[in-house]
């Protein structure tokens, strides 16, 4: 037993040393995970939400044009037209409201804001979301300890060091798009392709909503309405858009509720702007990175549509 314990101790010390070094590296060199060397924690390292908002607050310009979305909007690039893409993974409407309030409070002024909604922004489990270190919003002056825990990943250990790195400069290098192309799953359709867009007419099935669903609809409507009111009070031209959805997502149960929610908004005379003639596009391996995320070909069309709406 003693021999086995000694042997185990040697291995454990080695393992412990590795985690200690990882922690030290994170703490002293890369607290926000911008270098992309850490183990991919839920696929969401670094915390784009906090980093993007921090960037906007630390460089308060007037007349920001901002696009809020979950990761589906990560590829929408309107930077040539002065837009900044504030999409971040698993972002949802309550967070968009918080961000706008927070930035206004910090003196950031916005002239135009595009809010993107989809089934995910509606049904995200808020409690779970806020329990995730790399999802919940944090002020970067006070980096939570959990930021340091994610160890360095063997597969990502390329020893390129960025001396004196600043969040601002690293931002453009790493955070332009937030759906990472870090696996074979995505790489075949990362950029452009020329498949035709095929739209499908889908209407909400008449499913029975329970009390919780009704309450959720009311709450989310209130959040959207608060964003609309806040924008109006601060002279921000605010528009609400619906993300295109692939037919593969229709298998999800929550989609029916999402379509009913859109009906609910229509009844409330809340204008949601569609991007295409139909909200649902036929899934195509070429146009979609996965069932939820479309690629650059689609997002460029989305960008064109947004610009049309604001011009």
């Amino acid at each position: 037993m003693k021999k086995f314990l000694n042997r185990s101790l040697f291995i454990l010390l080695f393992v412990g040393l590795y985690y200690l070094l990882s922690f030290a590296f994170n703490y002293y060199y890369d607290p926000y995970g911008l270098l992309g060397r850490r183990t991919d924690y839920f696929g969401l390292d670094p915390n784009l939400h906090s980093l993007k908002i921090d960037r906007l607050v630390s460089q308060p310009k007037s007349d920001y044009k901002l696009l809020f979305s979950d990761s589906r909007g990560g590829n929408i690039d309107m930077s040539d037209h002065g837009w900044y893409n504030v999409s971040y993974p698993r972002g949802f409407v309550d967070e968009f409201l918080h961000d706008i309030e927070y930035m206004l409070d910090k003196g950031v002024t916005m002239s135009e804001v595009a809010i993107f909604v989809d089934e995910h922004t509606l049904f995200e489990d808020v409690e779970w979301h806020n329990g995730q270190a790399l999802l919940r919003f944090v002020e970067l002056d006070d980096v939570p300890w959990i930021y340091y825990v994610a160890p360095l990943d063997f597969e990502l250990m390329k020893f390129e060091f960025y001396y004196n790195y600043q969040i601002d400069t690293m931002h453009d290098k790493f955070l332009r798009f937030d759906v990472k192309n870090n696996g074979v799953y995505y790489e075949h359709n990362f950029e452009y392709c020329d498949s035709p867009f095929v739209f499908v007419d889908v209407s909400a099935r008449d499913i029975k909503l329970d009390e919780k669903d009704v309450e959720l609809f009311e709450n989310k409507y209130k959040v959207l309405d608060s964003i609309r009111t806040l924008c109006a009070e601060n002279g921000i031209n605010c528009k609400f858009f619906k993300h295109p959805i692939s037919t593969n997502r229709l298998k999800e149960e929550e989609m029916d509720k999402y379509f009913l929610f859109l009906e609910y908004l229509k009844d409330k005379k809340f204008e949601m702007i569609p991007i295409f003639s139909s909200d649902v596009m036929k899934y195509d391996e070429c146009l979609w990175r996965d069932n939820g995320h479309y690629n650059r070909t689609v997002s460029d069309k989305v960008a064109t549509r947004i610009l049309e709406e604001f011009n």
Partner: protein, 476 residues
């Protein structure tokens, strides 16, 4: 609790330390610890499952003693029937009830009678039910056959039924093998523990790195097979062959490794099945604990190959079909079993099914010869085609999938990147094929460092993984 979870990373060392440092002087306390740990491990999924395993344990414990004490053959038969009816009844209710109801409804619909399926129930399938019911049935049958004396020590018997390393996905241990080990005091053995530790690492590597990496690609290909070309579908089927191998044999390796840490030896469940030269050899290398179970408790009682060719064919078909059905309540599993029966019967006719019983491919050489290579390839292709039924949701899906595989064929390299996982695995398996345990007994500083690096890699994968994949065989 999953082996590839953070909870288990804490659970295992805790139980190990209690077992060897706190309760090491008292066998009864060690067995009680095994029992309590096993119930915690199992109840982690759903505490309600515990009542079922407890009742199952109690029934077979009492029946086992009564069979042994009874002098009347009739009474012994009745008692055995009680055990069989209870175990098969539990299995039938939880696993097959809805399948039978739906199948009747479909049958009536096919002859023009539409009946509403009001009899289906919303039943949760308890994890690993097929494994532990087979284990307890073998206990009662062995006592009935007078191959085993029942134990009166309930704690030990309950530990045998619920032994956590192999409770939910095997190997399906025989009471004749495991119960004596539970009843005998265990002494810590360095070599055994060392091999056990490495079996755990190797099993986790196969599961977490290979099977879990192949899983999303396989899911993607099978979900969108109608949009893909034949070459990609071939890749999907091959990936699934390796996914299920790494998933299931990985689980078995971990189970064997954990048992070794606690001083137990479990039976080998996999012996490099994809190096088999015919279907007979494949079934002596794939899920050995199940195939030998069916051989001993079904095939031989049915007459085996003793009563002429036709009865032998019938018996072969029965065990393969039952084996398929054991995997799940779906016609796809039954078709999978039928395909294997059809592949096995020719080798039975030509008396080649018992070839290669004791030897491994390229026994005295490093590389296989051309004949062996061709035999392995042909066997692998047939096994892979059968896997399509196993993986598909329905027979029509499997048929469509196979028809595209064979008609839309062109050598697509789309999604071929995952071969980077498969080919190194095959190479390592090839090196280990003659003496896995022997290789795992070697030790030096370099090996320790490699183990430490592998351990870090696995911890990172388990703790920081986007999602933890269940073991496929848990659903059976």
């Amino acid at each position: 609790m999953l082996f590839n979870s953070v909870e288990f990373l804490i659970f295992l060392p805790t139980v190990f330390l209690l077992y060897w440092f706190v309760f090491n002087k008292d066998l009864k306390k060690q067995n009680l610890l095994i029992l309590v740990s096993s119930y915690v491990f199992y109840g982690w999924w759903d505490y309600r499952f515990l009542s079922l395993i407890f009742v199952s344990t109690l029934v077979d414990y009492i029946v086992g003693i009564k069979i042994f004490e009874s002098r009347s053959d009739t009474k012994r038969k009745v008692l055995l029937a009680v055990s069989m009816l209870f175990n098969l009844g539990v299995l039938g209710f939880f696993k097959y009830y809805n399948f039978f109801v739906d199948s009747w409804v479909e049958l009536f619909a096919s002859i023009g009678y539409q009946i509403e399926s009001v009899w289906t129930l919303n039943v949760i399938l308890p994890v690993g039910i097929s494994f532990y019911t087979f284990q307890t049935m073998s206990y009662s049958i062995d006592i009935y056959r007078k191959n085993l004396e029942p134990t009166k020590d309930f704690i030990s018997f309950a530990s045998f039924v619920s032994f956590f390393p192999q409770l939910v996905a095997g190997p399906i241990e025989r009471a004749t093998h495991l119960v004596p080990q539970i009843l005998k005091s265990r002494v810590f053995n360095y070599q055994q523990a060392l091999v056990g530790f490495r079996m755990i690492l190797w099993g986790l590597f196969k599961k977490v790195v290979i099977a879990d990496s192949l899983a999303p690609i396989v899911n993607d290909i099978f979900a969108n097979y109608q949009l893909l070309d034949g070459g990609t579908l071939w890749l999907g089927a091959i990936y699934f062959a390796f996914q299920i191998y790494c998933d299931f044999s990985g689980y078995s390796d971990i189970a064997i490794g954990i048992s070794n840490l606690f001083g137990f030896e479990l039976m080998t469940n996999f012996k490099f099945p994809y190096f088999s030269r015919n279907i007979g050899e494949f079934w002596r290398r794939w899920h050995i604990s199940l195939s030998t179970w069916f051989r001993d408790y079904l095939y031989i009682p049915l007459g085996g190959s003793r009563y002429g060719e036709w009865k032998s064919f019938r018996n072969i078909c029965v065990i393969f079909i039952v084996s398929g059905f054991w995997h799940g309540a779906n016609w796809t599993f039954i078709v999978w079993g039928v395909i294997h029966a059809l592949l096995y019967i020719p080798s039975f006719v030509f008396k080649t099914h018992r070839s290669y019983v004791s030897s491994v491919v390229a026994q005295d050489r490093f590389l296989p010869n051309v004949k062996e290579l061709a035999q392995m390839l042909v066997t692998f292709v047939f096994v892979t085609i059968a896997w399509v039924f196993f993986r598909s949701d329905s027979i029509s899906q499997a048929s469509d999938y196979l028809s595209i595989m064979f008609t839309g064929l062109y050598p697509s390299m789309h999604k071929a990147a995952m071969l980077y996982y498969v080919l190194p695995l095959l190479s390592i398996d090839w090196l280990l094929r003659k003496d896995l345990q022997g290789v795992f007994k070697k030790d030096n500083l370099l090996i320790r460092l490699l183990e430490a690096i592998l351990l870090i890699y696995l911890i990172n994968k388990i703790v920081f993984s986007q999602q933890i994949e269940q073991f496929i065989y848990f659903q059976f």
